[in-house]
């Protein structure tokens, strides 16, 4: 599989698509998020697996997003996600609140190809009260009354994330960040940015294979050096806390957010076109 450009990867995502994305500590593709902003994506539905961070806030701020389903949106130490909060207040996005294991469970159901899976907890929470798509049944296996929540399978249109490397067969390597494997297994299509291409097959190295995601799931790969930035990539580069703090400050206002994008998102176009 020959790698394509990040902007070509973004071009594969139609408006309105449901995108599953890992959080800031688990290999989001911030490079692809920037490319989606440059392309002027609209109406995207984002699924935070199981929470959302910088890339989600960026896409919301740029007007790319219609809906967010997640268990939390935050910039970590830099505080609340400003564009998410502003869009929620303005009614510009639909927010579907969940709880972390519910998102895992819905994806696991999709991964198995079954229509639903049960999950404990949740009963009596307003999260459940606001989810008409989640049902409570009495466990058919219990001897006495045992209410339990059923969650429908959730099959994203796309899984998107940033891997450390890809081989020429299209296998990608994420190490222990297995939520990327979960979304790749559950989604219809998987688009991956990678730090670098490597020779040979990741699946033939017994030490690398357990951290790999097989090419079966991967539709396209783009090389994006420092593609997770400003978040970190495993032990290769750290979370850029100063940059996230700068973003959090600028993105407090619409005007500041636009200035941020001019500087860090659209200025990328020249680089991406090279």
């Amino acid at each position: 599989m020959a790698p394509i450009s990040v902007d070509a990867l973004a071009a594969l995502v139609p408006d309105g698509a449901l995108l599953a994305m890992p959080p800031d500590n688990s290999l989001p593709s911030c490079a692809l998020a920037r490319a989606l902003v440059r392309k002027g994506a609209r109406g995207l539905r984002l699924l935070g697996v199981p929470v959302s961070g910088f890339a989600t806030d960026l896409l919301i701020g740029a007007g790319c997003v219609a809906e967010v389903e997640t268990s939390a949106v935050s910039l970590g130490e830099a505080g609340f996600a400003p564009r998410f909060t502003a869009a929620l207040k303005a009614g510009a996005i639909t927010v579907r609140d969940a709880t972390c294991p519910a998102i895992h469970t819905m994806l696991q159901a999709a991964q198995k190809g079954v229509p639903f899976m049960p999950l404990r907890g949740l009963i009596g929470s307003d999260i459940l009260a606001h989810r008409p798509d989640w049902k409570v049944i009495d466990s058919p296996f219990a001897e006495s009354t045992d209410p339990i929540v059923l969650l429908p399978a959730k099959q994203p249109d796309f899984a998107v994330f940033h891997a450390a490397m890809a081989d020429e067969d299209g296998n990608v390597w994420v190490g222990r960040r297995r939520e990327c494997a979960l979304i790749a297994h559950a989604a219809k299509r998987t688009l991956v940015t990678v730090e670098r291409m490597v020779k040979g097959s990741l699946l033939e190295d017994e030490r690398l294979a357990p951290g790999a995601i097989g090419a079966t799931y991967v539709e396209a790969v783009a090389v994006a050096e420092r593609g997770a930035w400003p978040v970190g990539l495993l032990d290769e580069y750290p979370f850029d806390a100063a940059h996230i703090a700068e973003y959090a400050k600028l993105a407090k206002t619409e005007e500041g957010f636009r200035a941020y994008c001019e500087r860090y998102v659209f200025a990328d176009r020249a680089v991406a076109a090279e």
Binding site: S74, D97, S125, A181
Partner: protein
């Protein structure tokens, strides 16, 4: 040695962890924004108690190899004994609101979101609630939105709930059968009246309310030495502020 407020809180939480009346804490999980609970857990470990600590946001040496799902699967099986939760609002029945104030989903002040609370609070045998800010806007009579309920009706599967609520002003114990907090100890400078004034919910007050005790010299030297060593990488700002220790560049 005089203790900083954060050190006193860590020692108070360590005492709750080791409470012989509570279910045993063999495996404790600690979330991201929790340096004081993390310090309490490390203190318990460094005092020689055999407890397994899973620090969720530790980059190097993170306990999980199968993604964040693993924490919830372990908890689902009952293999996490103790977890910490907070909330933008906490009410007198130990309901937690991590979603936001006003109409759903937080049309007033939006908080980040519920994270795993709607599952963890049910499935962990005990939860220590921790929120440094002790004010009527945080400790409310009734939360605007329930991320995770403090108690459940009979028949709903639930392993446990809040053991206690630790704030910057006091420690409350939670009585699940009555769905009610009782004042357990006052931090120095506080009175029953000052706690009432700062708390939006009603609570019980025993005849004698002790002060939250001072950390011992041994506890302080553990906190400032080996506990800080363990926390430096994950919580550099906290270690610099509380323990006057900077991470090596």
């Amino acid at each position: 040695m005089s203790a900083k407020p954060e050190e006193r809180l860590a020692v108070a939480i360590a005492k709750l962890i080791l409470d012989p009346a509570a279910p045993p804490a063999r495996h404790i999980a600690v979330g991201a924004a929790s340096p004081i609970p993390a310090a309490a857990c490390w203190l318990v470990r460094k005092q020689g108690h055999p407890v397994r600590l899973s620090l969720l946001h530790r980059q190097r040496g993170n306990p999980f190899t199968e993604g964040t799902r693993e924490l919830f699967d372990l908890t689902g099986q009952g293999r996490i004994d103790l977890f910490f939760l907070g909330g933008g609002q906490i009410d007198g029945q130990a309901n937690l609101n991590l979603v936001g104030t006003g109409a759903w989903p937080g049309q007033g002040v939006r908080f980040p979101g519920s994270f795993g609370s709607a599952f963890m609070y049910f499935m962990t045998p005990r939860t220590i609630l921790f929120r440094e800010e002790h004010s009527p806007r945080v400790l409310v009579e009734r939360v605007d939105n329930i991320s995770a309920p403090g108690v459940s009706p009979p028949g709903v599967f639930r392993r446990g709930t809040a053991q206690a609520l630790v704030t910057g002003k006091c420690v409350f114990r939670f009585d699940a059968a009555r769905a009610r907090f009782a004042l357990a100890s006052l931090h120095p400078g506080e009175t029953v009246e000052s706690i009432r004034a700062a708390t939006g919910f009603d609570f019980d007050v025993p005849a004698e309310v002790p002060f939250t005790r001072d950390p011992t010299a041994e506890e302080l030297s553990l906190l400032r030495g080996p506990v800080c060593d363990e926390m430096l990488e994950t919580y550099p700002d906290f270690c610099a502020r509380v323990f006057d220790r900077k991470a090596a560049a």
